[in-house]
């Protein structure tokens, strides 16, 4: 780029030793050499292999399960069903625990869990599965919210009359007043499809018992929630459940729920007395579900002549699938962050989440946000068009500003959405392109953002959100950082080590991180809601500062300024010292210094182990209305994305030819990792806009549980991504950090869809925008035009 752009420069990151640097990932060699262990690499002597017995009906009463033939197969060690396991219900939303380990009476979707088989090897398990005979009384099923809502529709759960699992009615400000003030009012309806995370490591759990304690190794995004729920389900003390996670091969929200592999492994291991590995095939990842909800969204918005929003009425209908999982939170998230993004007072939000006889939906990168963002960003473009405004201008007019409070009670500290829009506009060449591109080529904008960690634990507790601990080796040359923060590939281990190094003033390369182990590491809720860098970051920073404090006290006793010519004489005080990159020095006279290691060793000799402790709790956040907790956060990121597309007007095929992202992400600890997140977000978001959709047949059977027919973009489908950051500062974050991982996915669907609209002049309202749906949209518009002509 030859042009100069004005960045917000709110950080003094240049003076940091490790924060803000593109340091090598701490897990790099493990991962590129294959030395690092994922769960499928783990083997234990005497380990049994197990799989789930799954329903082959979408909705049915179980009459009989005949396991006799399977039991006769040599090598089969245990076959368990509902009668063999605790009957307690579990889930992630405490008000809606509605899932059993195995179905007790009815199966609720094709693929639902009926039981599990453990055998001496994988082959025997597969053979045994074929010998299980389940007799069903088939019940009528519902596959869409519309079917579920019909009068007289089959009821899936007694506790959800009318199949309504979650219902939300919120109003802030005065919508009627807004309606009176509006110069222009417009309604748009759009829909988003069911999608799935697309991580490449299927769920798998290995469990084994040692006396009263069980050790659970799993593919999970949270050590703590898995430990908490296993203890609850099996009526144990949390201290008797040890959870460790090997390297995790991606999560994106799909490994937050307690998986069938977790509960089945614990139960089977208890019964057999042997280590048991329960594993999914790729198709079972689809059956386990927990991906993005299908949603129908309706927005009515009133604006002034200048485009300022005066009210919004939102209605979102969610296809929840069979169980709640995280779906209650998803439902609230579909509405709760809209007025973090745009500043308006009058807001009515209604949502209905229906249960259906399909795999359950839950959280997927951007939790509950990308579809509503897609719909609202499309809606906003139409409003701008109606007013004759540039789409970026209407966004700038409505962009929230820093240090404001939303009508639903969220305090927003740093927020630079306006600047993100301006920079994105300038770097993408928007002004030269918008409205000036030939037919079939278009440019579109979308805004988004996310919470930086949820303000509340998923269950009621007064525990802190994150605890950090750092231990220095006896000789002072190495540090271990302890935290249950979970690196699922996003790089949290690396940035936490960078932060520990910065806080202590200790070399990055001499730090090891001990994570993902409930026995060894310290409490953290794990990787969800984009919380690790800020929340675990605070805990680690404070632990590091605790170490540094102790080091400086010790060093003050050891350092001496020169008697003659020094900046002053006499005994040094700790406040006069600093420590950076492994050396303690006198701030006024850096030539007087001593190595961290020497000081730490002296400390050890005198006091014993040198340990730093850090604690983080965000405090009480948010408003007091029902559901106010969902959306609270110490900090909110914002982002503007722009996409340029080329649509083949004959085939409807869309090629994304350029993408730009400008992120208001606070201080960036590791820019390279941030850009990786943005690239990944574009890949996921473009995939969800153009290709991806989970498809079922008319009986609820999954049709595309594989990466051939569930088409995610390949490298060849990806455009060039230009990722830029506004160097902003968040007062509620350590060193001013905010999130990027999920927020970067939220604008993508809207910006690509708006670019397609710009290219073809027709709004295709249902995702994904496949070649055929665009082709159909163009044809229908041509037909309508012909009619008009006549």
């Amino acid at each position: 780029m030859s042009k100069e752009f004005s960045y917000l420069n709110l950080n003094k990151s240049a003076s940091y030793s490790y924060v803000g640097k593109n340091l090598k990932r701490v897990d790099m060699l493990d991962k590129v050499t294959g030395r690092g262990k994922y769960i499928d690499d783990l083997k234990f002597s005497n380990m049994l292999y197990a799989k789930l017995i799954r329903s082959t009906e979408a909705h049915a009463r179980i009459i009989n399960i005949d396991t006799s033939e399977a039991e006769k197969l040599p090598g089969v060690k245990a076959i368990i069903t509902a009668k063999d396991v605790p009957s307690i219900k579990y889930g992630l939303s405490p008000a809606r625990y509605d899932e059993n380990i195995f179905c007790t009476d009815t199966v609720k979707y094709y693929g639902d869990k009926i039981g599990a088989i453990a055998a001496i090897d994988e082959e025997t398990v597969y053979k045994a599965l074929k010998l299980i005979k389940v007799e069903y009384e088939v019940l009528p099923a519902v596959f869409t919210p519309a079917e579920a809502a019909k009068e007289g529709a089959p009821q899936i759960f007694e506790e959800y009359p009318g199949n309504v699992n979650t219902e939300i009615h919120l109003e802030f400000g005065d919508v009627e007043k807004g309606r009176q003030e509006a110069y222009h009012i417009r309604t748009d309806r759009l829909s988003g499809q069911r999608t799935l995370h697309g991580f490449i490591e299927p769920h798998c759990t290995i469990a084994y018992w040692k006396g009263k304690r069980v050790h659970v190794q799993s593919t999970h995004q949270s050590v703590h929630y898995l430990q908490h729920h296993i203890a609850r389900i099996f009526d144990m003390k949390e201290g008797d459940v040890r959870v460790t996670l090997p390297y995790v091969g991606g999560g994106f929200g799909g490994k937050v729920d307690i998986s069938g592999t977790d509960v089945a492994a614990v139960a089977l291991s208890k019964i057999t007395g042997q280590p048991v590995k329960v594993f999914f095939d790729l198709e079972e990842v689809w059956l386990n579900g927990r991906g993005r909800h299908g949603m129908d969204m309706k927005y009515t918005t009133g604006v002034t002549k200048e485009g300022k929003i005066v009210f919004v009425e939102a209605e979102v209908i969610l296809d929840g699938g069979a169980y709640s999982g995280l779906g209650v939170a998803t439902s609230y998230y579909t509405g709760s962050l809209l007025n973090v993004l745009y500043d308006f007072d009058n807001y009515k939000f209604d949502a209905y989440r229906y249960v259906t006889n399909l795999p359950p939906c839950g959280a997927q990168r951007g939790h509950g946000q990308p579809h509503p963002r897609y719909a609202f960003e499309s809606h906003l473009d139409h409003i701008a068009e109606d007013l004759g405004m540039d789409p970026i201008d209407i966004r700038i007019v409505n962009a929230r500003k820093a240090n404001t409070v939303t009508p639903n009670g969220y305090e927003v500290k740093s927020y630079y959405l306006k600047e993100a829009n301006e920079l994105a506009r300038d770097v993408s060449g928007w002004k030269e392109k918008k409205g000036k591109l030939p037919k079939g080529r278009g440019i579109g904008v979308g805004n988004g953002g996310f919470v930086t960690g949820a303000g509340f634990c998923m269950y009621r507790t007064d525990l802190p959100h994150s605890i950090g601990m750092i231990k220095i080796y006896d000789d002072g040359t190495h540090a271990i950082v302890y935290t249950q923060a979970v690196d699922i590939g996003q790089g949290s281990d690396t940035v936490l080590v960078q932060m520990a190094a910065e806080a202590m003033g200790f070399p990055y390369e001499d730090i090891t991180i001990c994570t993902r182990d409930s026995d060894l590491a310290t409490l953290d809720y794990g990787a969800y809601a984009s919380r690790q860098t800020l929340m675990a970051g605070w805990a680690v920073k404070r632990a590091g500062e605790d170490i540094k404090k102790k080091i400086l006290i010790q060093a003050a006793e050891m350092l001496k300024v020169k008697e003659d010519g020094g900046y002053r004489s006499g005994k040094l005080m700790p406040e006069e010292l600093d420590c950076k990159e492994g050396y303690v020095f006198v701030k006024q006279e850096p030539a007087v210094n001593i190595s961290f290691a020497e000081v730490a060793r002296a400390y050890f000799v005198k006091h014993g182990v040198l340990v730093g402790r850090g604690y983080y709790h965000p405090g009480k956040l948010g408003g007091s209305h029902k559901g106010a907790a969902v959306g609270t956060s110490p900090a909110y990121s914002s982002a503007t994305q722009i996409a340029e597309v080329e649509v083949d007007m004959e085939t409807g095929e869309t090629k994304v030819v350029g993408t730009w992202d400008v992120h208001d992400s606070g201080c960036v600890v590791n820019p390279q990792l941030l850009h990786g997140q943005v690239h990944g977000a574009f890949s996921m978001g473009i995939g969800e806009t153009i290709w991806e959709k989970v498809v079922f047949d008319e009986k609820g059977k999954l049709l595309n549980g594989n990466f051939a027919e569930y088409r995610m973009p390949t490298a060849l489908d990806m455009p060039h991504v230009e990722s830029l950051v506004l160097d902003t500062f968040e007062p509620n974050g350590p060193w001013g950090v905010k999130e990027v991982g999920e927020g970067a996915t939220t604008p993508t669907l809207g910006c690509v869809a708006n670019a397609v609209y710009d290219a073809i002049g027709v709004r295709v309202t249902d995702l994904p925008l496949t070649p055929e749906s665009i082709w159909r949209g163009i044809k229908e518009a041509e037909k309508a035009k012909e009619k008009e002509g006549k």
Partner: protein
Amino acid sequence: MYLPDFEYFSPDSVEEACQLLSKYGSKAKAIAGGTDVLVKMKSDLLAPEVLIGLGQLSPLKKIEYVPGKGVVIGSGVTHNEVRDSKVIQEKYMSVSQAAHHMANNQVRNRGTIGGNISNAVPSADMPPILISLGATATIVGTKGERTLPLEDVFAGPNVTVLEQDEIITEFVIPDGNFTGSTYMKFGLRASGALAVVGVAAAVQVEDGVIKDARIVLGAVSPTPVRAKKAESFLKDKQASEELFAEAGVIASGECKPISDIRASAEYRKDMVRVFTKRALDAAVNKGHV
């Protein structure tokens, strides 16, 4: 997913392979790269008790030009070998390109051209271009050898005219007068996607007049089909964009596509129109591409 139990034979010659196929009859299945057979076995769609490996038979691995005969491609050649072959690239870049756009790199490295044809999937990428260039298939069984035009090998989805004891040993693209050819694959992603529609065109153009044209449609009928009405419409006409567009409309009426999770029949029909037009344009104006 796991493979069911089976017995495996590794014959040393084509004759032995045919004898084994004859001996085990319907219980046996020939296997080369395994990119179709093994996947189907894992998905319970196929359960042969005996697999007869053809992958090690060197006579099936050749690619050569035989003067007076044409380009000979052994059935055991992988798609990447077809793509990279200098012989094929010099004569028919269109065949090399068709192999290049098939599936993904892993499958192209394992999967053979003989397997792609014998598997007889309607959306297969190699049949349309080979049929358009008039290729023949040499078929060997215990009772001897026969040669068929490739288009006569297919009998329906996943069905060929091969007898139980027969295998295809080679394909021959005979020397001809085609001045250009191409295969246009329309899949729903840049890589790793099956063709929603595939159109191959081969043309003989002299002084701007189309002397001969062959149009072969994939993924829109139970077998690859020639758009014969469109072909004869083109004959002896001056090449032009309008002409290609008209031929596209005619070809679109000659296919019988189905609706499935990838596309509707209606859409596929229209894509035949679009890609016939584009394929003719490329073959006429750019040669073998």
